[in-house]
C-alpha cells in the first residue's frame, strides 16, 4: 500500500491485553424456554467470548428450570463481564463460577471406539479396566468403551488409546456441581 494512503488513526482507542486467560466453569440457572440456548450461545458469539464446553438439560421440571454448564477461557476481567452479561439475560436466574468457588465436582462422559486385534486389542482391554471404563459394544475387531470422570482422566484415556486403534470419540461436555449442602 502507498504510504500516503495508509490510515493515520482511528476512532477507537485500543489497549493491549495484560491479564492472562484462565479456564473457568460456570453454572447457569435458566428458565427452560424456547430459544434460551440460542440466547446464551448468541451472547458468547456476539461479545467474542470463548466456549470450550457446553452442556444443557432440564434439572427442575416443576419449576421449568434448566442448568447450563459452560467452560470458558478468559482473562479475569472478561470472566466478570461474561457472568454479568449472562445475568442480564431476562431468563437467566443466577450464574455461579464454580472454579472461583473452589471445591466443585466436575464430571464428563465419553464413548471411545477402538478397533484393533492381537496384542493392541488385549492392551486396550487391560487399560480400559484400569481406567474403570465399561465395554458397551464389542465386535471381534472393535470395542466401544464408556468412561466417566474428570476431563483430565478422559483426556489421558483417549491419549493412551490412540496407538491402540482409536477410531473416534464422543464426549458429553462437562457437568459440574458445587460440593457441600448448599444448592444454587
Amino acid at each position: 500500500m502507498n504510504a500516503l494512503l495508509q490510515p493515520t488513526g482511528s476512532v477507537y482507542s485500543l489497549v493491549p491485553e495484560t491479564q492472562t486467560p484462565e479456564r473457568h466453569t460456570l453454572s447457569v440457572l435458566v428458565d427452560n424456554e424456547p430459544g434460551i440456548l440460542a440466547r446464551i450461545v448468541g451472547l458468547f458469539a456476539a461479545r467474542g467470548f470463548n466456549i470450550d464446553s457446553l452442556t444443557v438439560s432440564e434439572t427442575e421440571h416443576e419449576k421449568g428450570l434448566s442448568r447450563i454448564t459452560v467452560v470458558t477461557v478468559a482473562t479475569p476481567k472478561v470472566l466478570q463481564q461474561i457472568k454479568l452479561q449472562l445475568e442480564r439475560l431476562v431468563p437467566v436466574h443466577r450464574v455461579h463460577d464454580l472454579t472461583d468457588e473452589g471445591k466443585s465436582l466436575e464430571r464428563e462422559l465419553a464413548l471411545v471406539k477402538v478397533a484393533s486385534s492381537g496384542e493392541p486389542r488385549a492392551e486396550a482391554l487391560r487399560l480400559a479396566d484400569a481406567y474403570r471404563a465399561q465395554i458397551v459394544d464389542a465386535t471381534t475387531e472393535s470395542f466401544v468403551f464408556e468412561i466417566t470422570g474428570k476431563p483430565s482422566k478422559i483426556d489421558s484415556f483417549i491419549a493412551i488409546m490412540v496407538p491402540l486403534g482409536l477410531v473416534e470419540v464422543v464426549r458429553t461436555g462437562l457437568a459440574a456441581i458445587a460440593r457441600g449442602p448448599e444448592g444454587m
Partner: protein, 589 residues
Amino acid sequence: MPQQMTGAEMVVEALKDQGVTDIFGYPGGAVLPMYDAIFQQDKVRHILVRHEQGATHMAEGYARSTGKVGVVLVTSGPGATNAVTGLTDALMDSIPIVCLTGQVATPLIGSDAFQECDTVGITRSCTKHNYLVKNVADLPRILHEAFYIARSGRPGPVLIDIPKDVQFAMGTYYGPTEIEATRHKSYRPQLEGDIRLIEAAVDMMLRAERPVFYTGGGVINAGPEASQHLRELAELTGFPVTSTLMGLGAFPGSSPQWLGMLGMHGSYQANMAMHDCDLMINLGARFDDRITGRIDAFSPQSRKIHVDIDPSSINKNIVIDLPIVGDVGHVLKEMVRIWRSKTNQPRTEALAPWWAEIETWRAKNSFGFANSSSVIKPQYAIQRLYEATKGRDVYVTTEVGQHQMWAAQHFPFDLPNRWMTSGGLGTMGYGLPAAIGVQVAHPEALVIDIAGEASVQMTMQEMSTAVQYGLPVKIFILNNERMGMVRQWQELLHGGRYAHSYSESLPDFVKLAEAYGGHGIKCDNPADLDAAIREMIDSPKPVLFDCLVEKHENCLPMIPSGKPHNEMILPDFAGDVGAVIDAKGRELV
C-alpha cells in the same frame, strides 16, 4: 374480570390496560387481525408511518420525551426487518419500546412461507428480550410481561412475535392486575443501592478536593425526580457537573456549576475536570469510548464511584473503586439524605482552588468559533435557534453528525426529557421520525429536529406522516452539502481524501416541503436568519428549513484518537489538524 376474546383483541385490550394511547405502525398480511381490532375501537390511536424504521424512532421519541413505553406494530418479514435499526438504537440508548410483529401462522413457521422471517432469531441480539407466542393462552401474560421488562431495570426494547393463527384464536384475557405473572417470574432488577456503599460514597465526597459529577442517560431514565435529586445534591455539595450526550437536561445548562457536555466533542473544562479530578462520581453513565478517549490515560489520579442499574456496566471499561448497583434516582435521594445528616455547608473553601482551576479552563471558551457576516456558521444558527425558542415549551431531536454535536454544545436544556438523540448507535435518520413521536406526545409543544442534509434524507418520507396527522415538526437542516463529520475525519485521518462524503444532487428542500404539503424555508444569509427562524416557529405546518451553512467548518473542540482528555484540539488551533495525531495514534486500527 377474565374475558373471552381473540388474540388480536387481547393485544388491543392489553395496550389499553397498559395505558397506551398512541402506537406507531404499518399494516401487512400477518397483522391484519390486529389492525381489525384497532379499527373497532377508539382508545388507542394508530399513527401510520411511511417506513417501519420511522415507527421505531417515533416510538423512541415518544418514550424518551414522556418516560412511557413506546409501542410499534409491524408486519412479518420486511416489516420486522425494517424495524431492526430502531430496535438496536433503542437497545443501545436504553429506551423502553414494545414492538409487536405479525408472523406467519404457526403451522407455516419454518416453511419459508411468504413474508416469513426468523424474527425472534434476527432480533435476539437487538432486543432486551423477545417472544414468539405459540399459544394464545400465553398471550396476555407475555403482553403484560413485555411492558414490565421494557420499562424496569435498564429499559430497552422488547419484541413480541405473534403468528396470525394466534391472533385469530379465542382465549381468556386477563388484565395486568388479574394475573400473577404480569411481572416476569424471576426478572427483578436491583433498584435500591446498598446503603453502606452509599454512605461510603458520601464519605469520599466529603473528603474530595477536586470532585466532579459525571452524569448520563440513566438519570433521565430514572425519571424527573432523579434530575431533581441531582440538582439538590449538586447544590448541597457545590460540585461541578458534566454529562454525556444522553444525559443532557438532567442538570440545568444555565447553572454556574454546569461544565457542559464531556467527551470527544465535549467542553475543555468538562474533559479537563474529568482528567484532573480526585473523585469522579459517575451517575448512570457507562464510560463509553466517546467519553473516555484513551483508556489507559483516563483520569489517572481519581478514585471512581459508579452508580448504575446494570451491574455489567461496572468495571466493563474502567476500573471502579466504589460500585453501587441500583436505580440512580434512589441512590441520589439517599446521597442527599446522608449528606444532609452530616453537614449543611457546601465545602466552598475546600473546593475553591478546584473551581478556580475550572474557571481558567472555562475561560478558553472551547465552544467558541469565528463568526462571519457573509456566511451562516452552523454554531451561530443553533445559537440563534436557541435564542428564538428560549422560554418556550421546546423539545429538540437531532440526526447524526457534526450538527448533532453542535446542537449538544450550543443548545442548553434546563429540563430532562427535552433532548432526543441517537447516542449509542449513531443512527442517521433518527431525528425526523423521533420529532414526530415527540410531537404526538406533546401536541402543543415546539418540536425541532436539528438535522444534517445527508441524515435527514434517510427518513425524509416521514414528512408525509407529519402532514397527515397535522404534526407541525420543524426540521432545521444545517446544510453544509457534506457529510460533515465524515469529511472532518477524512481531513484528520485520511489525508484530506474526501471519498464520497459530499452530498450531490440534493433536492430543493423548499420544493420538497411543499410537495409533501409542508412549508419550506431557505436561508443563506446571517442577516436574514432570525426572521427566517421566526417564520419557521410561526408556521402551523411541518417545516423543512434549508439553512445553508459554511461547508468546511470542523466540529471542535475534539479529543483526537490516541489522546487523553487533557490533549484536546481547541478551536483556536492554528496548525494542520492532521498533524496532531502522533505515531501512537497511527498505530491504532
